[in-house]
Symmetry: C2
Subunit: 158 residues, 2 copies
């Protein structure tokens, strides 16, 4: 799929892939960006309201971004290999109602995906469409741990 | 300041500090979490809608978290040195209306801060208060580049 704005259908769900949060990953992200004890140290985490070492919420969110980008890069590569034009991923404009619903503990494997909820052509930048989607991560037990709604730009077919 | 829930006053503004987005930092974050060409490569960025290498929006957000945590850790340390009890930073519950207003380019220096907009005692967890705040980053030209509203838990005075 080349995924220009015109290819996007409201209601479509896409799965972006899965990621296992290892101790090493959790501590590396937290050291750089969220140095709270319950993201860095097992003993301190055990004594905290979380009860065990868990990932920074911004880590959970950043992995969403990583898998989203990689998913679209794979689609672009496949289109290129078929000799088709490829749509640019436009800039994200922001998001609404981000919720960290459950902690993400060491060893948790999250699967990420999204559902298209609305689309319209940009008034100010007619080269682009504006696409709204609901995004989520579920853990290995099928429990939703993270969700937010995003609005992103998507290139229109030339 | 010990910053228990009871110490927090609506309308208070806090500055968390500044961070300069170097090329090295931008590329390191993007490589791990947002591998789009305009966050990784000068030439590709020049040809993109951004016009120059710029930081992942999730990077801008993660640095907010880092400075927020460090700010409160300094307050806790100061309280401990005065022999006072220290309040725990509670878990973040989520965010609303995050906006990446302007790109953050190599060399941009962002200053981060927030303003308390509301507070209430948690219905379900009476040990905790629920605090709402508006958060932002402004660049070296005084332009707001990033903002969001957060709801966080804050420990009540024992």
């Amino acid at each position: 799929m080349t995924v220009y704005y015109e290819d996007i259908e409201i209601g479509t769900e896409e799965l972006y892939g899965s990621f296992t949060f290892t101790e090493e990953h959790i501590i590396r992200f937290a050291t750089a960006y969220d140095p709270q004890a319950f993201h860095l140290d097992h003993e301190a985490a055990k004594a905290s309201h979380f009860g065990a070492l868990c990932a920074s919420g911004w880590h959970t969110a950043s992995i969403w971004m990583k898998l989203y980008v990689q998913h679209h890069q794979k689609q672009q590569l496949a289109a290129q290999q078929r000799g088709e034009a490829t749509a640019e991923l436009g800039p994200g404009l922001g998001f609404k109602n981000l919720k960290w619903i459950k902690p993400v503990y060491v060893g948790d494997r999250l699967s990420y995906g999204s559902k298209i909820t609305a689309k319209r052509i940009s008034e100010h930048r007619p080269r682009w469409g504006v696409v709204s989607c609901d995004n989520w991560a579920v853990n290995q037990d099928g429990v939703t741990v993270f969700e937010f709604s995003a609005t992103v730009m998507r290139e229109r077919r030339p």
